[in-house]
């Protein structure tokens, strides 16, 4: 028997006029790993809801076609009957906790108590799942104190304890840092190896290619095609669907591996040859005619701690100016604290920071707003207006722009981030990724000399990242100093020529990105990895440091 059977599934959310799922049909075999690929808004999340019964039972709306889990028809059964067969884990690690349990152990028990599982059996299952998900040592910890990666593993354990036939993962790592994401991927890989049927929607395409038996490619609510990762990612029209193939596939394409069109390209590192790039030479860097002059931030001998005796910043000296630069480093390296210091949200205990000649200790965050624009990680922490345009105009008006100028700037920036058509919508009617772009525009509209981004790529799909990269270069061309805190090494390599590595509150490296990624020892110390393309080039015999896909030829 098929594990999942979907027949002509159509679905519209209540009050909406378009189908988010449009005539979907497919089947899944027991024990398979199915990847779901597609840009933001393709319908991946809604499909995950439909498979777990939330569509239609929780969301209501208009529903056509059929979904079967084994022999159980989703439409005619209640949520609690479906949840005993299907487990769902979604992107937001915090709101997935029930919030009513004070230890990880009790949290996992929540679903079992609801289903009326006998006590002995509960203990057995919880212990088994904690072991499977490698969270045994966390059993007595309050979920509130866990990291994102740990929370996601608790979430998986909580649904696995209910012994579902199928585990559905909806972008389980999109809100995690690389370390947390890796923790989750490791256990997902292991569960799959143990024979659990898994369906996973994910933007990290390399992982999708590595784990999936089959891939569903979705776009605008439709199932474009279904096939093995090699079949799907070798397609020439992926651009049309807003997804990028794995870096290996792009590399193979650039290097003209394919002799004739129908043949598939490699999709994982292991399929790439271990030779072929020994003689690669980098294209001659075309020097820009003029170096743009930007504002300058000087950090000297800076130290800071929130609590006594645990310094987060330990004597940093930095001069930031000129080309856009990336600040990288593990969690706890002091990146966010450094940015808060730059922005005068907290004041240094030792040393000083001058922004364009003005000391941060002589000013306030609100006054500095006209000079430094800071874009926070989570757009939800700032959005409060009911119209996108009003939200974007809030900052400009605060720093004294006239209403006309503020509006003109807001419209210009909305256009820049590709959100001009949504200017009259309510920000909370948009997706999280779109809200993030609204937040970006809301800071850029203040037209500050310095722009700082904190993790702009989290939750963005391939197209979103391309947009961001262009934006950063445009800002520089206008003479702005752009500083970016990042976890996404691929994005760093593609976009920034200048990189600062932080580790343990100190500057470990400050210089060219290419040099940064050549420091094996230092990267290990900072807990960082090389970009995918760099690793690939190395495997294929290139002795230097390759940073961009376009450098392969």
């Amino acid at each position: 028997m098929k594990s999942i059977r979907v027949e002509q599934l159509k679905y519209k959310y209540p009050g909406s006029d378009h189908f988010v799922l449009d005539e979907l049909s497919f089947t899944v075999e027991r024990g398979d790993f199915i990847g779901i690929a597609g840009e933001n808004g393709a319908g991946k999340t809604t499909l995950c809801y439909a498979l777990s019964g939330l569509v239609p039972h929780f969301f209501k709306g208009s529903y056509g076609g059929n979904v079967f889990i084994g022999d159980l028809e989703v439409y005619t059964h209640s949520m609690s009957e479906i949840t005993a067969r299907v487990g769902l884990v979604f992107d937001n690690p915090f709101s997935q906790m029930t919030g009513a349990k004070y230890t990880v152990y009790d949290e996992i028990a929540f679903g079992l108590e609801n289903l009326g599982v006998p006590r002995e059996e509960m203990h057995r299952r919880i212990q088994k799942c904690m072991k499977q998900l490698k969270i045994e040592e966390l059993w007595n910890v309050n979920p509130f104190y866990l990291s994102g990666g740990q929370l996601q593993r608790v979430a998986i354990a909580s649904v696995m304890a209910m012994k579902p036939d199928i585990l559905i993962l909806d972008e389980p790592t999109s809100q995690l840092d690389p370390q947390g994401a890796e923790e989750v991927f490791q256990v997902v890989e292991q569960l799959s190896a143990q024979g659990v049927t898994i369906m996973m929607a994910e933007q990290k395409i390399e992982k999708l290619a590595a784990y999936s038996d089959r891939i569903l490619l979705m776009n605008k609510g439709k199932l474009i095609c279904e096939g093995t990762p090699a079949e799907i990612f070798s397609r020439d029209d992926l651009d049309d669907y807003g997804i990028e193939p794995p870096v290996y596939t792009s590399a193979a394409r650039s290097l003209k591996f394919r002799q004739h069109t129908p043949a598939n390209l490699p999709v994982v590192l292991g399929e790439m040859p271990t030779f072929g790039l020994e003689k690669l030479s980098l294209p001659f860097p075309h020097e820009e005619a003029v170096d743009v002059k930007t504002a300058e931030i000087v950090v000297s001998d800076l130290s800071f701690s929130y609590e006594k005796d645990s310094e987060i910043i330990k004597g940093i000296n930095l001069k930031l100016s000129g080309k856009p630069l990336a600040i990288i480093g593990q969690n706890g390296a002091g990146k966010t604290t450094l940015v808060k210091l730059l922005k005068a949200l907290v004041k240094p205990q030792k040393g000083e920071i001058t922004v364009d000649g003005v000391k941060t200790t002589d000013t306030t965050a609100a006054k500095l707003a006209a000079v430094i624009g800071l874009i926070f990680q989570n757009p939800n922490d700032q959005i409060f207006k009911s119209k996108v345009l009003d939200e974007v105009m809030f900052g400009p008006l605060n720093i004294g722009q006239s209403p006309e100028t503020a509006k003109a700037n807001a419209l210009k920036m909305l256009d820049r981030v590709g959100m001009a058509s949504k200017k009259d919508e309510n920000p909370y009617d948009l997706s999280l990724a779109e809200r993030k772009l609204v937040a970006v525009a809301s800071v850029l509209a203040m037209d500050t000399k310095v722009v700082i981004f904190d993790e702009p790529t989290i939750g963005q799909d391939a197209m979103g990242k391309v947009k961001l990269s262009l934006l950063i270069n445009e800002l520089y061309a206008q003479g702005k100093l752009v500083v970016c805190i990042l976890h996404d090494m691929d994005f760093v390599a593609e976009t920034f020529e200048h990189t600062v590595i932080l580790g343990g509150g100190r500057v470990l490296f400050n210089g060219e990105t290419r040099t940064a990624f050549s420091q094996d020892e230092l990267l290990r110390e900072a807990g960082l990895e090389q970009p995918h393309v760099t690793q690939l080039a190395r495997r294929m015999g290139y002795t230097g440091i390759l940073l961009k896909k376009s450098e392969l030829h």
């Binding site: 939330l54 929780f58 209640s78 949520m79 609690s80 949840t83 487990g87 769902l88 979604f90 937001n92 915090f94 709101s95 997935q96 906790m97 029930t98 919030g99 009513a100 004070y102 152990y105 009790d106 929540f110 679903g111 079992l112 609801n114 289903l115 009326g116 599982v117 006998p118 006590r119 509960m122 203990h123 509130f144 979430a155 909580s158 649904v159 209910m162 808060k340 922005k343 949200l345 306030t364 965050a365 609100a366 006054k367 006209a370 430094i372 624009g373 800071l374 926070f376 989570n378 939800n380 922490d381 700032q382 959005i383 409060f384 809030f394 900052g395 605060n398 909370y428 800071v443 203040m446």
Partner: protein, 255 residues
């Protein structure tokens, strides 16, 4: 707030008593001070309540809680003491201000009652884990959903509190002042509160989904991970409390 509640983890006889008996104790202890309104009786009840706190090894923790009610107690003493409408028996005078006995006598009674109320609730909240109380209530027939709501508040509060710092930072970064004249401060209330409201209302959708997929609406007979038969003395205490209450009522009616 970080630890959620006032609960103090200790090994004591009072900690070993089941939550429902303690809940009953609160009602009886507060109730009798309104049934019999003599100073000596209310003082006696307060003494018993304090003794229970002592037995529970939590006496020192009650003082900060009493501290929270100090404004009210001062207000009672001043307003009732000086302005009580019944002013016939002159007690003494401060300068030219006459002080009457009735007012202060009444103020003393009210203060004793308030102190007893705070201490009686103190017995419950200092020695009872909230989840134990909620679970006991669920076993007695309270809807598990209401039980969920009660417990989740205690988890959500610190979470929402953690967000407020980020919101303040984000809005200040966009040039919003939180210091200054009255109008400036009023104007910043909405930009500070609204993100957290939108955030938490938006989160209710995710949280509802999380609950739905964990069988929150299941109709099967639910089971409990933890046993609760480690509580002692429940029956004796309940009988004792019922008898005391009956005695006080009888006293009021017949004597």
């Amino acid at each position: 707030m970080k630890n959620g509640t006032f609960y103090v983890e200790k090994a004591s006889i009072v900690h070993d008593v089941d939550p429902l008996s303690k809940l009953l104790f609160v009602f009886v202890s507060v109730g009798v001070t309104y049934i019999l309104s003599t100073h000596s009786f209310v003082l006696g009840v307060l003494a018993i309540t304090l003794l229970v706190l002592l037995l529970g090894k939590v006496l020192q923790y009650i003082f900060p809680i009493i501290g929270l009610s100090l404004v009210l107690i001062f207000s009672i003493i001043i307003v009732q003491g000086f302005f009580h409408p019944d002013r016939s028996t002159l007690w003494f005078t401060i300068g030219s201000v006459p002080i009457y006995k009735e007012g202060f006598s009444y103020a003393l009674l009210l203060t004793l009652r308030v102190l007893n109320m705070v201490c009686a609730f103190g017995v419950l909240i200092l020695t009872t884990k909230p989840d134990d109380l909620v679970q006991s209530l669920i076993r007695k027939g309270m809807s598990p959903k209401i039980g969920y709501v009660l417990l989740s508040v205690l988890q959500i509060l610190p979470q929402m509190l953690a967000v407020t710092g980020k919101i303040t930072d984000a809005q200040r970064s966009r040039g919003m002042e939180t210091e200054g004249g009255f109008i400036t401060r009023v104007k910043s209330f909405i930009p500070l509160l609204t993100p957290v409201v939108l955030n938490s209302i938006n989160d209710t959708r995710d949280r509802s989904i999380a609950l739905e997929i964990r069988g929150f609406n299941s109709t099967s007979e639910r089971t409990f991970l933890h046993e609760t038969n480690h509580f002692k003395y429940g029956f004796v205490i309940k009988v004792l409390l019922a008898v005391s209450l009956a005695a006080v009522i009888a006293w009021r009616i017949f004597i």
